[in-house]
């Protein structure tokens, strides 16, 4: 009998099968992911998700007997009261048949449930979305340089020395040139000592000669020669500028209810997750405004309560100011997202429109305006409800700028579809 410890074996033997399975169930999984998103909180959007998918696309049909035809005998255990000739009503879904067990997918028509990892979840989530105008920026901009492993080289800096490669070469050379090994020398020295003790002079001389020859050889053939040295080689790969900044603008005046803020937050979170996947580094700037605007941290942005009037243009001014000071547009990809309930101080809306068209949009890669409603008005009904001042003003700017989009959102369930609409590959923009 042998005992083999298989525990150290590499893990993830089923990984490639799993990927195949996901690819197979792609449509179902995607639907489930979007469903899941509607239900869950923003804070844990990025966690893995347990998804339940219908078994449609992943059934493995085989020929089997129908349970609704013919005459079948069942033998089952546990008779308590029946005698021959008793009639038993037919149980729903078919009597559990002796010998037959549940199929691995939990029985024919049922839904199939399993857990997606975070990566898999996000992949599905953002699958057919893309960032607008990503290319334009990267072409225009100076690119940054990335290092990428590219084999080995014979020159390089000591910090890039590849010890395993070098030692491999060294060993091959030492074996090929028959460099004496230390144990051999030791052995000879031992013999020499013994010969000396035994006063066997001829033998000692012979050994000394041999020893000298070997030591000479060791000196000639170094342990590591410069020709053994190998260095890790890196190629410099130009990469498009991968830094982005995202401006979140939100009205926090009294008219914005918690529910509206929650909607806005969901949108911002989605945008952030999306940017993080596309850019290596994403800065977020939170600007909130009432009648004045200020830059705040995330906590204050979403949760602190403010009162006051509403002057939207202050936020846009603030954004331009910060962008000019810290995020020059030739180096940064700038994204803006504004959320508001549409209320604005009377004369300010036209100013907002001119600010947006004249200063903000030229800076940005993309700017999205989300008007949050109280659950009654929705994007689909926009024609019927009264347009807000801000909405009207922005509508005039929109046609001239392809990278500006505006949408109305009424309840959390719409967030994803609105987001999806905005960033769909080659999608329409308002």
């Amino acid at each position: 009998m042998h005992i083999v410890d298989r525990r150290p074996n590499p893990k993830g033997k089923s990984l490639s099968n799993r990927q195949r399975f996901l690819a197979r169930a792609r449509i179902e999984v995607k639907g489930a992911v979007q469903d899941a998103l509607r239900k869950r909180k923003v804070a844990d959007v990025a966690n893995g998700e347990k998804v339940t998918i219908p078994t449609r696309g992943i059934t493995e049909p085989i020929f089997h007997h129908s349970r609704r035809t013919g005459r079948i005998d069942h033998v089952v255990p546990g008779n308590k009261e029946y005698v021959r000739g008793d009639e038993i009503p037919r149980p729903n879904g078919g009597e559990g048949r002796g010998g037959s067990e549940g199929s691995p997918d939990g029985g024919g028509e049922d839904a199939f449930e399993f857990t997606l990892s975070k990566e898999e979840f996000l992949d599905m989530f953002f699958e057919d979305l893309e960032l607008p105008d990503l290319v334009k920026k990267s072409l225009k901009d100076t690119t940054t340089v990335d290092l990428q492993r590219a084999g080995y080289t014979i020159t390089g800096s000591p910090s890039n020395l590849s010890v395993p490669r070098t030692m491999r070469n060294s060993m091959a050379r030492r074996i090929a040139l028959r460099r004496p090994r230390l144990p051999e020398l030791e052995e000879l020295r031992q013999l020499l000592e013994e010969a000396n003790e035994a006063c066997n002079e001829t033998e000692a001389n012979r050994l000394i000669g041999q020893l000298n020859a070997l030591e000479g050889r060791i000196k000639i053939i170094p342990f590591i020669d410069t020709m053994d040295l190998r260095y890790r080689r890196f190629d410099r790969i130009p990469r498009p500028n991968t830094e982005a900044v995202m401006f979140c603008l939100m009205d926090v005046s009294g008219s914005m209810t918690e529910a509206m803020k929650d909607l806005a937050k969901r949108f911002f979170m989605l945008l952030h997750m999306f940017l993080v996947r596309r850019y290596r580094h994403v800065d977020i700037v939170f600007i909130r405004h009432t009648s004045t605007a200020e830059e705040v941290d995330e906590e204050a942005f979403f949760y602190s309560r403010e009162t006051g009037g509403t002057v939207v243009s202050t936020a846009l001014e603030k954004m331009v100011e910060i962008a000019k000071a810290h995020y020059p547009s030739d180096r940064w990809n700038i994204y803006g997202a504004q959320a508001s309930d549409g209320d604005n101080y009377g004369a300010d809306s036209s100013r907002c429109a001119s600010l947006l068209g004249g200063e903000v949009l030229p800076l940005c890669q993309y700017f999205a305006y989300i008007e949050v409603g109280n659950g009654l008005s929705s994007a689909g009904l926009s024609g019927l409800s009264r347009d807000s001042d801000l909405w009207k003003a922005y509508s005039e700017v929109a046609p001239a700028h392809g990278h500006f989009a505006m949408r109305r959102v009424g309840d959390p369930a719409q967030i994803f579809s609105v987001f999806h609409e905005l960033f769909a590959k080659g999608g329409v923009r308002a």
Binding site: M1, H2, I3, D5, R6, R7, N9, S14, S16, N17, R18, R20, F21, L22, R24, K50, I58, T59, E60, P61, I62, F63, H64, H65, S66, R67, T69, G70, R71, I72, D73, H74, V75, V76, P77, G78, N79, K80, Y82, V83, R84, G85, D86, E87, I88, P89, R90, E95, G96, R97, G98, G99, E101, G102, P104, D105, G106, F112, F114, T115
Partner: protein, 524 residues
């Protein structure tokens, strides 16, 4: 060996148990295995393959589940699905993992989980490494159908071949073939050994014998009996059709074999993929017919061995209790109206029947003498069991050995479910009238040819549009489930490349009740 001190040939009482701690270690496993092996060979007279025990983690156990219990497998999404399913159940705590998986190869590979306690490892080794192992080596179905020496090599070939095909022809193309072949895999097995190729000398000898027999029994009077006259042209046509069928080897119940050999439009690599699926399916063919006996044998053997270890003081009282707890939950049989009921538990029925055989051999009642005259009171329980393990399958084992006592103990009853009637009817219960019927009905329930639809290739329209014609021969009006049948026929069409037709034919009256047709796939 080390433990010979404890376990002499005369069954000396040990002076101390083999282990006292609950954690296992490699030296302990070895000692315990040696003790078990000794009991199995010397006392129970078992004969098994050498064993290789492999310690694995729970994650690796899930991997093994996913690849249907084999150590290596080609890649396919369905295994990923199985993995995702079991993983979710396991993580939710809905399903524990098996303590072991054992693979019918030579040497037998027995996976044991690192989480098991020493007692559980002892149980697992007695159960799998000895019990299943003996069954694998001796049962006639395994001997006939399973190449224990070659299976691992074959699987590794299959895995590499599928991977190569994916590289060459694209994963999608390979997946399509495998999907289709998987749909037909239950019908990709040979149920009988091949007809021997006609051998000239043998044929000559048989012809000679026939002639000699005809000469010996010649009676001139038969010449005067008038022959029925058959129209000449009809026989000619029939003869010709029969000839073509014979050349194609029809009827053929191994659908995958037929498609692999005869499908007109498949590439060589596609045929090879089908062959792989067919071989793997064939490997599992005996297992499906031997579930009850296999588990029964292993459970009976582990119970016997654990008790003998305990009798000698080789395992402690605590271990014995732990074992009994686990054993009794393994052989638990809920009644049909219990929410836990999911068919007859093969461990429970198998173990009970084998214990019953032991009782019949050693301590029979009058009833046993009447029902089992040949073995009742013979005294050699293990001889009888070894014979049963070697020469029966589930169906014949029940037909032969299910005793009235078992029927009473399990309170088995037979229900007839006639789809034309509003309710089901109890046909037999555990009484004198019912024993025989229940035994027969239960055996039928385990008969693979009853459980799985009998589907055969009956004809190919060679002169017309090359339609493949399948037949489902049914009994008792049990037809195929419509939705899956269509889905499978679509797969069959993909492999065949032309239209496929399936007729549902009543096996008794030869009337066609229903016909499915799938048109030929559109040509690109």
């Amino acid at each position: 060996m080390r433990n010979s001190r404890y376990l002499g040939p005369d069954g000396l009482i040990a002076d101390k148990p083999l282990f006292t701690e609950s954690n296992w270690n490699f030296a302990g496993l070895r000692t315990v295995y040696n003790a078990i092996e000794r009991i199995a060979i010397e006392e129970l007279g078992l004969d098994f393959y050498p064993v290789q025990i492999e310690v694995i983690t729970s994650e690796q156990m899930l991997d093994a589940y996913a690849s249907v219990g084999l150590p290596l497998m080609y890649r396919h999404w369905s295994f990923g699905k199985r993995f995702a399913y079991h993983e979710t159940l396991y993580k939710k705590g809905l399903q524990g993992l098996a303590y072991e998986i054992v693979i019918n190869s030579n040497p037998v590979i027995c996976y044991i989980m690192e989480e098991n306690s020493m007692t559980m490892q002892t149980l697992v080794m007695a159960h799998a490494a000895v019990g299943h192992n003996h069954f694998f080596k001796n049962n006639y179905l395994f001997r006939q159908w399973t190449d224990a020496d070659g299976i691992l090599d074959y699987l590794s070939f299959a895995r590499d071949y599928v991977a190569q095909c994916e590289e060459k022809h694209g994963a999608e193309a390979v997946e399509r073939v495998l999907d289709a072949a998987h749909a037909l895999k239950e019908h990709g097995v040979n149920r009988y050994t091949h007809r021997a190729r006609p051998n000239l000398a043998e044929e000559k000898r048989r012809a000679e014998e026939r002639r000699a027999y005809a000469e010996a029994t010649y009676d001139d009077i038969w010449r005067t009996v008038p022959m029925a006259s058959i129209p000449q042209d009809e026989t000619e046509a029939q003869k010709k059709a029969a000839e073509v069928k014979a050349k194609l080897g029809l009827p053929e119940e191994n659908l995958l074999y037929f498609i692999e050999k005869r499908a007109p439009r498949l590439d060589d690599w596609q045929r090879e993929l089908i062959r792989i699926v067919r071989h793997v399916s064939q490997y599992f063919y005996p297992q499906k017919q031997l579930q009850l006996m296999n588990e029964g044998c292993a459970t009976f053997v582990h119970y016997e061995i654990m008790n003998r270890l305990h009798d000698r003081g080789l395992i402690t009282e605590g271990s014995m209790l732990e074992f009994l707890h686990s054993h009794s939950s393994v052989v638990f049989q809920p009644g049909f109206d219990d929410p836990r009921f999911s068919g007859i538990n093969p461990y429970a029925l198998g173990f009970a029947m084998m214990s019953d055989i032991q009782r019949i051999c050693e301590d029979p009642t009058e009833e046993d003498r009447a029902w089992f005259a040949d073995i009742a009171g013979c005294g050699d329980a293990f001889g009888v069991l070894r014979h049963a393990w070697a020469n029966y399958r589930d169906e014949s084992f029940i037909l032969q050995y299910l005793s009235p006592r078992m029927i009473r103990q399990f309170r088995l009853f037979q229900v007839k479910d006639d789809s034309t009637k509003p309710s089901m009817k109890v046909e037999a219960i555990h009484d004198d009238f019912g024993y025989w019927r229940i035994r027969k009905a239960l055996a039928k329930q385990y008969d693979l040819s009853q459980r799985e639809p009998d589907i055969q290739v009956i004809d190919v329209d060679l002169t017309g549009d090359r339609t493949l014609i399948l037949a489902h021969y049914f009994h008792d009006d049990v037809l195929l489930e419509e939705k899956t049948c269509r889905a499978v026929l679509n797969y069959a069409r993909y492999l065949w490349g032309y239209a496929v037709k399936l007729q549902e034919i009543d096996a008794e009256t030869d009337t066609v009740l229903k016909t499915y047709e799938v048109a030929a796939p559109p040509r690109p």
